[in-house]
Symmetry: D2
Subunit: 384 residues, 4 copies
């Protein structure tokens, strides 16, 4: 395949740095593609960009060098320590491709202007590296849910408001999505932030013939829920309550400590569970910031269910995952798949990629196994 | 549908008594069909016998009245206590349909004779109640693995040995299967015992045009394993070890205390895990008899897996189930489905029923979601 | 010993009904004293009232008969179903000894008057049954933390405010404590409500020479924490975070659903953990109302700690308890012990009973083993 | 205090290497003494050797350099990677003090001769470094239980048999203990092997006025059991079953894979539980070798217990520990304490050190809190 850009919003964060480090390691043959779905045999015949085809850049609002974040990730068990030396120059090169992101507080001027600048960074990157296309992936910090605005519903209205000085009608994630589309790029929303999930942006993507996918990478507790809930349903067992607690440190833990930010995440998780069971359940859910866990996330779920003749039973699980290790290969998978969809001329939400997301856009299917089948089916049709 | 017999080998055990009590309760509208797969919407149009169509009988080697076992099950949380009074007369009636089973120790005479007697009990039951067919389901105590005998491989050879006095070439479960087939009945193996899983018996079933299904009902730890293992595979995560411990009381716990008996069960569980993951894993597995748990089974599994760049993560779960509550509705489901397969003229192993079993006969598919899909597909074709 | 009264505030609740049912069962020799600390060998020579010495009465604001609550508790696994018939007449008798409690919303008149009425109910009970003493135990619903009032600090000031019409300076639990003391009765605070924990009430108890004990029965997660935390300390292991989630149904679950009510409980739990470890830890804690769990409480705790050379390790536990089954025998123990302390002429907070409480009054000791030793020591000195 | 030797049997193993690395780190002020009991405030006034007072040597049957084992331990999360460089020369120096241990298979000649050689290595070390005393600590691989021999009962008989060529009446651990005593050294048994726990060796220790302590370091599941079991007892709750599963990799996991070797360990664990509860419980226990866990040990325990009126409840815990990180500081503690006991003129088993061991010699006390108190009391009396 021709050369492909991967542009990361939040390029200096844990997920981004892990994805970048992994890409460098995989390209150099230093690690097997464990965790990369698109290296499963089901994709053997699908025309997807290879590791060597990718060029990486991005936006961020901090300037910590990638090597420093990588060092921190090595201490946290995400990256193997011996890798650091081997990828140091690669990280440096990519550092040079990271630009200042849009910051809602420090930004001067109207949002249209901001979007133009963001889009220009991306097109310059595409031109500079002579790329066939650039997939923009949002892996920036989770935002609080954005307040509704009528202009979100229609593109002309939205673009009018964007030019009003002093108005910030779009949250940063949606501004990034808007700019990506305006730069002619497919967009992936790996976070629970509003991002591209506004009617006006969907309209723009369709008008421009651009595919997009989202949202909120499905990597831990929700992954398990979408695997386990269908079992209860298929066995005609009646789930009575499904309680969950998530302990996490890291950047995401710090962000979600703020209940306002956590809200997006909790909402996105709750939507999934409700969709999976045929009926309502009591489902208290907590996200706690526990800094000493570092990059590790521990989730405990307690499911109480009823069987034959009302018999009462329970299932509990404890998941101890390294969130960035789970997310990063999916980011790379999504870059490959969405690039292929773009090459294939697809536009609008890629519901067939639902298996990657907690809150899939363009799909109502939350069951993991059904989503997996749909992914394979869709990929099969890409085969040249 | 016409009247259908359900003949239980091990009719006085926990699973059988729960199935019988539930059938009476469901028929009387005293409980919803929670746990019964065949009442899912996917089966709405499938022609299956209804609760009122069933007549129940069986074999056992003990004579404890069903009402007494039911009382014990109520104390153990399996049956709701208030139900006992309401189904007392129904249990009494079925008590009258239970005959003495084949007991390898006390039986006098050759095994051919024993099989004729067992078959005669079943045909008499069919005639007495004017039944269109009788589904024979083995829910007797787990046996130790049967020693191999060359006659197991071919029917004529087997039938020759059966007439040799003093030889007991078939374990009780296989004798029951043989007798059931000879009585013209479809057979279901809900236990891990040898049962119908001998080439000679498969040959007989095909010759007589009889369907059968098995084996070892999938109700707890293995159910979860066949749900969770495909997730790791689909996400390209590498499982390194999968350790399990099962604590159980009840009749099954007492039987499995004997390591020889436990062997069948452990083997049947191990086969599944190996088939689900692409590669070998360290998978120590224990079954412990813990009498104070009564009918409750608690399973703890610890899965250690590797993700992107070798990151180490774990999943643990604890399942606390009432085994008979999980098994009984499946026994009723199997009676309905296998009766329909028989009415449909199917013969040999029903691989499409793999979702019900730890060690599915006639199928290599262990993944729960794929098995569920296959069940729905198959049932869809039964639709008149 | 002479006849002793047990007066329960919240006499129709789960804890009270379990304690009453158990007392009747124990007195009739229908059950062993499992869960009763004072039947341990260490108390063999301590002069404590026996089961036959107790007469029970109380206050409540609802009128559900004890038999009905007992029936509910039997369904929930707290009381053995066969017991209900055997204690029915005993429950009826005690029903007749329960009076209308003080209700802050419906009460007319000033609080001094309310206290007089409450006290009169208790003294009438004492006289009617010719009791040597009455131990008043608060097992009413948890209240929200009471707003501070300067009059709480000194008895004369408090009593002046009590007579002001329209003022409700004391929360119901403290009004009950005040009335109990004014009736000359020792008081036990089994709940996290304010109760007797006000300087003015402590002053009154000392002036009247009355002992009291509290507060918040230690029955589940906190019990384990006060057992486990000293292990980390004694082994010089550094706890980094201690997260907890409590799932509970029942009356207490419904009350604590209200975050304001839960606050008392959370505060009382947090004080304990801080006292047990030498340093601050991140300790998120949740209480969720999960009605389908009924009387069962499930607590999950996750402890992250550091060992030699900074090695990172974890401990998790899941406790599945029946709260009323754990609390009721302790209520009976406390009635016996506080009666003995009163007979012995002790006054003020009984710090030696700290082992019974999450937030012990009159003691700074939270370590379970040390508290147990202190209880034995103190009881040893009671020996006549 | 004067200079003290620490002589490790199994000096190249995980526990030994962690203890040695830690000692070097602590001496250099590179780490705080987390996990070292003797740095608790309770020992502030006790005269114990300091880190700088220790000189280390030992025996092993392999020749892997300490630095190599340390590297492996760093990868496994036991040692902080940055430490390796800082202690490299220290490890080298100690390497030079490690001698070939007694190997039962390769040894030529009678056991008396072997013992003399082992003892000579130790006395040469003491003389070479001009040490006041040498504490010998056994941290070698667990042995299978030794077959009983009548000569184990009495010293003269034993020493007679030791001189018989071709007889190996003592397992290596006991031979090491014998040699240590004959070299005039106090002995600590950190393993479940037979070691010093033979009447003839106890007799020798007393005759020579040497103290000893053992056996089997209490670091994980058993530690928790001796903390939790007393809670059930003190609360008069009746434990019905206590099931356990241990998953471990590392050298110890490989050794214990062999059921014969595991037997010592299982026996030593079972003795503790029986002693802690007043009555027998069903207590199945497993040790599984799961190599991918590396140095990590995961233990799952499931406790089923009965409360008031027969209510059924459970506690489960999962402990995820790094065994060597837990063991190593205790080895250093024991070296300090046993050196002090020797200086104090104590002889025979030091029952006051029971808190360190699963199977304490010279003590029947298994309760952690009581053992801790006894340790503090005993240490208090050492104060000069
Ligand atoms: N790791 C997972 O398993 C997982 C799963 C689903 C979703 N996510 C989401 O992925 C996102 C990233 O997670 P993370 O752990 O890498 O977080 P992180 O805090 O380590 O990284 C976020 C990065 O975004 C940057 N950023 C913030 N605002 C920005 C802006 N306006 N423009 C550009 N960059 C900006 C931050 O400076 C930071 O470098 C989060 O939203 C998280 O919820 C992660
Ligand atoms: N409960 C589950 O979830 C589950 C799941 C899979 C398989 N199973 C299997 O189902 C079977 C029944 O389990 P259970 O809990 O009811 O056990 P149980 O011990 O309560 O009942 C077994 C019954 O079989 C009878 N029996 C023994 N030998 C017989 C013979 N030769 N002929 C006729 N009857 C005989 C016994 O007398 C007893 O009444 C077991 O083999 C078990 O392994 C159960
Ligand atoms: N069960 C335990 O393990 C445990 C442990 C510690 C503390 N507690 C505390 O014990 C208390 C009782 O718990 P429960 O489960 O029995 O709750 P519950 O809701 O079943 O019972 C509380 C009773 O108090 C009554 N009540 C409410 N306000 C009253 C008033 N002003 N005067 C008199 N009665 C009043 C209610 O009507 C109800 O009958 C709670 O405060 C709980 O927090 C229980
Ligand atoms: N780590 C813990 O928490 C813990 C707790 C209690 C007991 N223990 C015991 O401590 C011992 C050491 O554990 P480890 O993890 O270090 O094991 P390991 O296998 O890493 O080390 C054992 C060492 O002993 C050496 N050895 C074997 N036979 C010997 C002999 N005859 N003479 C001298 N050396 C010999 C081996 O070569 C190896 O270097 C084991 O017996 C274990 O059961 C450990
Ligand atoms: Na959707
Ligand atoms: Na206090």
């Amino acid at each position: 395949m021709t050369r492909t850009g991967l542009w990361l919003i939040g390029a200096r964060g844990s997920v981004a740095t892990t994805a970048i480090s992994g890409l460098l390691a995989l390209r150099a043959g230093l690690a097997p593609p464990t965790g990369c779905v698109t290296f499963r045999p089901e994709f053997a015949d699908v025309a997807l960009p290879g590791w060597e085809d990718f060029v990486v850049g991005g936006h961020d609002v901090v300037s910590t060098p990638l090597a420093k974040t990588a060092e921190h990730l090595a201490q946290a068990g995400v990256l193997p320590p011996h890798l650091l030396g081997l990828i140091a120059s690669g990280l440096c090169e990519i550092d040079a491709e990271i630009r200042d992101g849009y910051h809602p507080v420090t930004h001067q001027g109207d949002q249209a202007e901001a979007a133009r600048r963001i889009a220009a960074d991306i097109t310059a990157f595409r031109d500079r590296h002579n790329l066939a296309r650039v997939v923009v992936v949002n892996v920036a910090s989770t935002e609080p849910p954005a307040p509704f605005d009528p202009s979100h519903g229609e593109l002309t209205a939205l673009e009018a408001v964007l030019t009003e000085p002093g108005r910030a009608v779009l949250p940063p994630s949606s501004l990034a999505a808007y700019a990506a589309l305006r730069a002619g790029c497919p967009f992936v929303d790996f976070t629970p932030s509003t991002g591209i999930a506004l009617p006006a942006l969907d309209q723009l993507a369709r008008e421009l013939g651009l595919p997009y996918a989202g949202r909120d990478g499905k990597t831990g507790e929700t992954l398990l829920r979408t695997v386990l809930a269908p079992m209860f349903t298929a066995r005609a067992l009646r789930v009575r309550s499904w309680a969950g607690t998530n302990l996490l440190g890291g950047g995401d833990g710090a962000t979600l400590r703020d209940p306002q930010h956590a809200e997006s995440k909790l909402e996105s998780k709750a939507r999934g569970l409700a969709a999976l069971l045929d009926h309502d359940v009591v489902a208290p859910l907590h996200i706690d910031n526990v800094p000493d866990l570092g990059e590790q996330k521990t989730a405990w779920d307690h499911v109480s269910f009823e069987g034959f003749l009302g018999a009462r039973m329970t299932l509990q699980f404890t998941w101890t995952g390294l969130d960035s290790s789970l997310a990063a290969p999916l980011v790379l998978d999504l870059a490959r798949l969405v690039a292929a969809a773009h090459a294939d001329g697809q536009a609008g939400p890629l519901g067939s990629l639902a298996v990657f997301f907690k809150d899939p856009l363009g799909s109502d299917e939350h069951r993991f196994a059904e989503q997996t089948r749909e992914l394979y089916r869709w990929a099969g049709e890409l085969r040249g």
